[in-house]
Amino acid sequence: MKILILGAGRVGESVAESLVSERNDITVVDTDPARLRELQDRLDLRTVVGNGIQPSVLREAGVEDTDLLIACAPLDETNLVACKVAHEMFSVPTTIARVRSPEFEDGNPLLEKKGFAVDKVICPEESVTDYIRKLIEYPEALQVLEFAHGLVSLIAVRAVAGGPLVQHSLAEIPQLIPGAEMRIVAIYRQDKALTDIDGSTRIEAGDEVFVLAATADIRTVLGALRKMDRPVRRIMVAGGGKVGLRLARQIHADYQLKIIEPVHARCEYLATQLPAEVLVLHGDSTDEELLGDENVHEMDLFIALTSDDEDNIMSCLLAKRLGARRVIGVINRAAYADLVQGTAIDIAIAPSHTVIGELLAYVRRGDVEAVHSLRRGAAEALEAIVRGNAKTCRMAERRVDELDLPPGAQIGAIVRGLHLADGSEAENAKPRVIIAHHDTTILPNDHVIIFVPRKRMVREVEKLFQVAATFF
């Protein structure tokens, strides 16, 4: 696939990084030659210096035969205009724009083909905010991802001694946790995936377990693998940047919130944007005196969201030492994130990976609805729709154990009834979530959620979904 990326900032870089490994042809356009040189040295891609809204620059970057434009320049304006230019002048089939302003959301008529011609709006801040919000809602989980319009969730959780399933084999699940259907799709032990998970695999304390279940059953799943904590009430947020403010706006009604922000003018802005119950504190989040004075040991959750990785790591470590129950840090550098995840820092969030999932759905072949990047990009979970029939597709009308899945890939759940027989989206659909077993039969138009433990297997999985040409 030919992909044109506008803007070599943090988002552009991580998008390029994750797409280049999938054998895509990538061209990056940016105004900063030094930045581009750096990128070109590290990754196998082409770079063009210039302003990406100018047709001449786009042409030089080979926009004419580009399949996908991803505009992630720092300014919303640039991205919107670039999409328009690419669509109008060069008929680029798919355009994605990073737009920070919440006033231009997906579905806004201004973004249609006649308007700015943006097919998909991505907003990394929003994705990270959603990610964190899920973690606040389910503090025991490492990550919660939704599929099939939120009907099914993939839950990553660390098993802790004391959970009913810990020290038991998977075959015992139905007896131990009756009523709640779940499917364990992967177990990571000491950061290595266990291959060949079957009924006899035992869950050990410390394992990172990936479970697919109906969204309604998330709490049951979490309760099965570890003792439930008391719900989160008090939260301290370090850093009142874009993510901090978004998060505070969404959760201030339900939680007691304190925000620490080092820039005084920003503090004042936060105070105008948030109700008076939210306490805005001016200071450094790595200042142990401030943390102590503000009772960090009473906090159920400490979230470090500043733009500085080192500060986030230090303030998280400090908060944990001072007694915060659970600490979450946003860490941009993947190496750092891998380093600290699961140490004193309970969860390290790599923001670039949260948004990549949204992009991947456009890069994948087949009828892919959603892709989520897991374990900071190493693994992937994807939701795709089965089209065709037994003759034209290698998935349709087959039992799960008849499929030729790559080793480790697991079909976790099937959602049936979202589409009518002719494949169109059903109105007032009454979809059914089926947790997959070896004898479950996959029917056409099913949404299938597959866990892929290693990224290089994605291609093989995609092939399973592809419909042979005779279908048309």
Binding site: E261, H264, E268, A271, T272, L279, V280, L281, H282, G283
Partner: protein, 484 residues
């Protein structure tokens, strides 16, 4: 100093004011009442003075500087009551100039305190003039001038600010200030017309409806009867009065916005208006429960009726009375006077500190309290999602300080002149807040007639200070102001 330029403008305002006398004159002519001659004479003198002032200083006309605005406003508010007093002086035999000036000032500042008794025996046109002055003074004489005289130009914004009430006067509703002034007067006029028809429908005669509409909309409190609203003995009329007094206590800019945006949400979203509404409803219920607990009236419904009328009347600084509430257990009248010092909204026709200042001070106090517990907390005072500038907070604090000092000085002067403490203190509150009746000798059952000339003049200036929110007047007494 552009004193002469100011005089030129005051002349034109005076001439315009003479035209306003046409309204009572029309009543006098149609009724053939004995005040016909008085109004003709007064209007003639006023017009002549105005034209003379304007012509004599014609050469000095120029754009006003910000400083001139304060001189102009104060001068206007000193002179116009004098002209407004003329018809009263001519029509009511034996009335002293002191009393006539007090009466006119009371009308124009929408105070509603009176030195006259036997109101029903006065010619109709005199009562009409008293009430009409309330209507004009309510939205503001200067605002009216800005709206209809094209001459004020850029300086008009400063003038507007020096008369408008409230701490934040920089918000223009329209790009042009004259447009804003016109919009405000149009809104005022529409609600006033509705009020008049409502009174008529509730059972008043047309003349009564007009007079009491003027008094209600300006939140003044002049009535055409000594017994005020007790004369009507009609719950319907009281209900209409309560409704329109409440409406007139809201910032008129909001009605303007409601009209422009065609959405009543504007009112609800405004913190001040919302608080005002809750404050009114809560106070009425509290007083009603208090009265019924003390068995003042046989039924709760009756308690509620009298509480609703009198509490709203005093709290909005109107000053109508339907019963002698001074006879209620002392908490109720004291609470009502307390309310009148801050309950009305900025930009309404009411007087006092204004609710918005109280809200800002409350927020400031809360933020100081937060800072005691959390020394690093950043909690600026905000209003509608924006930080209230420190200068505004300082001006609010300065206003409160000056307001308190003026209150003390006026009370002391009245005590010095021989009044008892209750009368002196409540007269000061009633005049500075432009409410009208106080307690004691100036209570709702009596009036300011019993005061000596000295006391009357003190009260007169207290009313003016209150209407112009102290600062616009007091700035003239600072040496810096006059330094070249």
């Amino acid at each position: 100093m552009g004193t002469l330029a100011v005089v030129a403008l005051v002349g034109r305002m005076t001439a315009l004011f003479a035209l306003l006398m046409g309204v009572p004159l029309a009543f006098a002519l149609s009724e053939h009442d004995p005040a016909e001659g008085a109004f003709l004479k007064a209007a003639g003198i006023t017009l002549a003075c105005g034209v003379a002032m304007s012509l004599a200083t014609r050469r000095f006309r120029r754009e006003l500087q910000p400083r001139d605005g304060f001189v102009l406003v104060t001068l206007t508010w000193l002179l116009l009551p004098a002209f407004g007093a003329l018809p009263l002086l001519f029509a009511i035999p034996g009335l002293s100039f002191t009393d006539a000036y007090f009466e006119a000032m009371s009308g124009l500042t929408t105070t509603g305190a009176t030195v006259l008794t036997g109101l029903e025996k006065l010619p109709l046109s005199v009562n009409v003039w008293r009430c009409f002055m309330v209507l004009v003074g309510g939205m503001g004489i200067i605002v009216l001038m800005v709206a209809i005289l094209p001459l004020l130009g850029v300086g008009a914004t400063n003038l507007f600010k020096s008369e408008a009430a409230g701490p934040m006067k920089d918000q223009k509703l329209t790009p042009r200030i004259a447009e804003t002034a016109r919009g405000l007067w149009a809104t005022y006029f529409v609600i006033a017309t509705a009020c008049m028809f409502a009174y008529q429908a509730a059972g008043m005669g047309w003349a009564d409806a007009f007079m009491h509409m003027c008094s209600t909309m300006g939140l003044g409190g002049f009535a055409a009867y000594d017994d005020s609203f007790a004369a009507f003995k009609s719950p319907m009329i009281e209900g209409v009065a309560v409704l329109f007094m409440t409406l007139a206590g809201v910032n008129f800019s909001l009605y303007f916005l409601v009209w422009k945006k065609k959405s009543a949400w504007v009112l609800w979203r405004d913190l001040e208006a919302r608080t005002y509404l809750f404050l009114m409803v809560g106070s009425v219920l509290a007083v009603a429960l208090f009265l019924s607990a003390h068995g003042v009236y046989p039924t709760f419904v009756e308690s509620l009726r009298h509480a609703a009328f009198n509490v709203v009347s005093i709290a909005t600084t109107t000053g109508f009375a339907s019963v002698d509430y001074a006879k209620w257990p002392v908490f109720a009248p004291a609470f009502m006077l307390f309310l009148c010092s801050f309950a009305t909204c900025a930009g309404s026709t009411g007087g006092g500190i204004k609710l918005i200042r109280s809200l800002l001070l409350h927020k400031q106090a809360m933020s100081e309290l937060t800072r005691i517990v959390h020394p690093r907390a950043v909690r600026p005072v905000t209003l509608g999602g924006a930080i209230v500038p420190t200068q505004v907070m300082h001006s609010v604090l300065a206003f409160m300080l000056i307001y308190g000092s003026v209150m003390v000085v006026v009370t002391m002067l009245l005590l010095f002149s021989g009044l008892d403490l209750v009368t002196a203190a409540t007269a000061a509150i009633a005049c500075i807040n432009n409410t009208g009746p106080g307690l004691g000798e100036v209570g709702p059952a009596s009036n300011f007639q019993g005061l000596t000339d000295f006391q009357t003049w003190v009260c007169t200036f207290a009313m003016m200070l209150g209407r112009l929110e102290m600062l616009s007047v007091l700035v003239l007494f600072t040496p810096q102001f006059w330094r070249k």
